[in-house]
Amino acid sequence: MLTDWLLPILLFGALALMLIGATRRVLAWRAGRNEPVAVVAGLMAMPRRYLVDLHHVVQRDRFIANTHVATAGGFVAALALALLVHGFGVDSSILNGLILLSAAGMFVGACCIAWRRRNPPGRLSRGPWMRLPKSLLVFSTSLFLITLMTADWFPAGLVGWVFSGLLLIGLALGLAEMLVGMGWGGPMKHAFAGALHLAFHRRPQRFGGGRSTGLKPLNLTDSTLGVAKPTDFAWNQLLGFDACVQCGRCEAVCPAFAAGQPLNPKKLIQDMVVGLSGGTDAGYHGSAYPGKPVGEAKGNPGQVIVDGLVSAETLWSCTTCRACVEECPMMIEHVDAIVDMRRFLTQERGETPGAGVQVLDNLIATDNPGGLDPARRFDWAADLELPLIADVGKADVLFWISDGAFDQRSQRILRAFVAVMRAANVDFAVLGNDECDSGDVARRLGDDATFQRLARHNIEVLGRYEFNRIVTTDPHAFHVLANEYGDFGGHYRVQHHSMFINELMEQGQLNLQPKALGRVTYHDPCYLGRYNGEYESPRSVLSTLGIEVQEMTRSGYRSRCCGGGGGAPITDIPGEYRIADMRVDDARAVEAETIAVACQQCTAMLEGVVEPRPQIKDLAELVSEALVTEARA
């Protein structure tokens, strides 16, 4: 029979083509910078990462999760069994039955996908991705029927040359999509690249419930600082780009995309794929960067990315809020890639846009972004008589003040927090003028040299004193101190003031008389929430204050950025809306009268929204207002 000799040829032929394509792909990845990975351990851990960690993210959309289980599970099982049965000729009715079952499962899944694709949401890519459910249906149907046929479970009268020929063509088409496409860059590429991406992920700490959010340090003696060409990425970053399924979840959560700034994380990753394999973005069928047409970007592995593939504006639109990374089912690291390319722009080209140049020059010359007199950093507390750790030598809590010291609005937050600590008799001290900017902004603007200098300075200063923990009101400083100073030898126990106040409350150290505030919502700062997983402490503080938080639609790990991170207000890429306005609209939608925040940058951004708007209060301010001041004679 035709199927007897054609089936193995089809199967092995497709497999061989896939392997050739895959090898080419692997070689393309390996053109990237070397980055050591634990090969065996990674491969061993891969199934678990796939089934648990990845599924955990996918599960946020239950329908697609189940669909994917059916389709992918069915496909893998069906293909493996088909290889045994049709490829190696193992004849077993149990196996045939299992093939039928798998193909049926795959068929059901494919039907769901097809149903979903009738009128797909804007975030989904079209083009080949619209073809995929059809290919899946053809493949599963053909395989199902052929298996019926070869197992002779089919009414003999129905089998004819034409029919079996059609089935074989169908199977061939299905295999072309599923296997050949996998190796040669079709939609199914995600399966093979995704699996390897999970195995060789740059941040293995992210799996198993952990977190890894700190940026990787730049070697300042590299011949090119940052990423100029696609091949300047680490090889497993390139691999990660290929894992993208173009589901557009990143696009849906990206604040810059929503604000009409020229950034779309999905398109950015697809442009990296274009750069990796060479060509243009004409084959991209998703939403464009707002305000920029598709089809004009060209790139190849040896070409500088910002010269024709991705515009610099796109890279500078990012607020580094990490919403895309949090949402990505393939665990792709968009922010790392963006900052890597920014490093090239800043440190090789000297093309930091907007006020970024001034801010970096100021950080270099005065250790604060405003270019203010470093000897006046501690002036804000002149009347507070804060203990300097240089005088007291050691303390339980080192209060990291951050650059809010220079900003009049932030000083109110700092004062409120000092009042809270005083009320709880906390043994704390401050660095005073010895403190420098944490380096957060410099690093996000791509100036790792300045970040590293500031980090080393701060680590050296901190190393002089004894303290149990650092507490700060600035989530950016918190993140940098906790997650990024480790690479330079600074390991500390760092707490955000929300965590610290929560502890004080739990220990009953604060005597509070809550005040009625009306409807209050809470805005999760990106660098506290997504970067450090701290969603509970601030809410717990608010509930202790007797406040019932009216959650905005986007809160917790899905919180929308205020627009203030990553140097975005400094580089100031124009869009249609302002991110802060959209965030305040979120709060208006739940009729909040007060937005509780836990970050001075968020305070500044949200208070920049034209009134009338809900009032903006930091947690420290809310707590200090509720403090019962004991009548001291």
Binding site: G354, G370, P569, P574, G608, V610
Partner: protein, 425 residues
């Protein structure tokens, strides 16, 4: 003429000075009147003395003292001419080369002349201050500012000395040097030409000029170093480029301002040719450089009108962050801590409520005028003059007024109002 009051300055001086040896005798001449009931009577018209400037002062320490002797009729105070200071035969000169921007003495020029007088008087021999005024001079009172002698030229061999002509001016200084050898050469260290000419002159003389000098005596000079961060203490050189407020301007005396002869130098070849001023559109001047900024905020609705007003007033346009965010103005026009820090002389803020970042950005502005609907906003608290009104209506009237000014119709209201304002003040 018979009404003219004759004064005896000597007696007046003695009456003013209670320590004067003749004071007692002069004052004792008058005895207070004792009234019929034995009460002591004071005639207020006969008490006190007359100050140099002609003001009458009561002498409460000596109520019995002589009255306004000679002053006769109260209310007839005379404006006294300042005394004239003469240097008859100077043995040397202190030369002050003036900027005269727009043909008039700048306050910097007056400071330089004041210092020149100090240096001239510190000399042992009589020295005269020689003011060198080159170019278009409209100032009539160089003597009042402290010039004993003047060399005034508006052309050299038919080459006008207006515009940029440092080489011609240097030739004149050269001729002056040959004739008069001034003990000091003083220049205002200014962007109006003084710094340039002074530097050229110092190099030509081979003198190490003191630059940004702000404390100058005959022997030593203190000058500001780079970035205004250091002071250099040094012997006073012959050529000094003086910082503003280097000396007190002359006020109490008049000087002769006699013209001085100068044999003109040979014609000089000029290498740098002045092609004239470049017309600069005020709206295109960078915010940080602008002297008059018209800034719009959230309260402005009619943007065409706003641009029109800026053009008519000759103001540079600025904007608040909100106006920029809303796309009405380009980002490089944003004023404030997150935009440009401005140092304009006059800042006219329209519909700007005054966020703290914005107020930080205009911290260095001399005069702030606000047009706003909300009298309680922070901008009103900052402004020197606020008009509570709808900006569109005020703009319309401003355009009318400017139109009247340009077409020659006397804007009556303005003068009236100015008078009123003065009256109120």
């Amino acid at each position: 003429m018979s009404l003219r009051i004759r004064r005896n300055p000597r007696l007046e001086r003695i009456r003013r000075n209670r320590l004067h040896p003749e004071y007692e005798s002069l004052m004792a001449a008058r005895v207070s009147a004792i009234g019929p009931t034995g009460l002591r009577r004071i005639n207020p018209h006969q008490t006190g003395f007359v100050m140099v400037q002609g003001r009458k002062r009561l002498n409460r320490l000596n109520p019995d003292g002589v009255g306004f002797a000679g002053a006769g009729q109260p209310g007839r105070v005379q404006a006294k001419e300042k005394p004239l200071h003469r240097v008859a035969d100077p043995l040397g000169y202190v030369a002050a080369v003036l900027d005269l921007p727009g043909g008039r003495l700048s306050s910097h020029d007056r400071d330089v002349l004041g210092l020149a007088q100090q240096l001239a008087q510190a000399k042992d021999e009589p020295h005269a201050v020689l003011a060198i005024a080159l170019g278009d001079v409209r100032e009539t009172d160089l003597g009042g500012a402290g010039a004993d002698r003047v060399i005034q030229l508006n052309q050299l061999h038919n080459e006008p000395l207006t515009g940029y002509c440092p080489e011609l001016k240097r030739a004149i200084l050269n001729a002056t040097e040959q004739h008069y050898q001034p003990a000091f050469w003083l220049f205002p260290d200014s962007i109006d030409g003084g710094a340039d000419l002074g530097s050229r002159w110092a190099v030509q003389l081979g003198e190490r000029a003191a630059v940004q000098a702000w404390q100058v005596s005959k022997e030593t000079t203190v000058c500001r170093g780079g970035s205004q961060l250091t002071d250099w203490h040094r012997p006073t050189p012959r050529v000094l480029l003086l910082a503003p407020e280097c000396g007190a301007p002359v006020e109490e005396l008049r000087h002769e301002a006699l013209p001085l002869e100068l044999t003109l130098p040979e014609p000089v070849s000029v290498t740098i040719e002045d092609l004239g001023p470049v017309s600069v559109d005020p709206s295109q001047i960078a915010l940080s450089e602008a002297e008059f900024i018209l800034a719009a905020g959230n309260g402005v609705r009619n943007w065409d009108q706003f641009h029109q007003v800026a053009t008519v007033l000759g103001a540079t346009e600025g904007a608040s962050r909100v106006a920029v965010d809303d796309g009405y103005m380009p980002r490089h026009r944003q004023v404030g801590a997150s935009g440009t820090w401005v140092s304009a002389w006059v800042y006219l803020a329209v519909g700007i409520s005054g966020a703290i970042q914005h107020l930080q950005g205009i911290g260095q502005c001399e005069t702030v005028i606000a047009i706003n609907l909300d009298a309680g906003c922070d901008m009103v608290r900052r402004a020197d003059l606020t008009v509570i009104a709808d900006s569109e209506a005020v703009f319309a009237e401003l355009l009318n007024l400017m139109n009247e000014r340009q077409t020659g119709i006397a804007p009556q209201g303005v003068t009236v109002h100015e008078g009123e304002a003065r009256h109120v003040a």
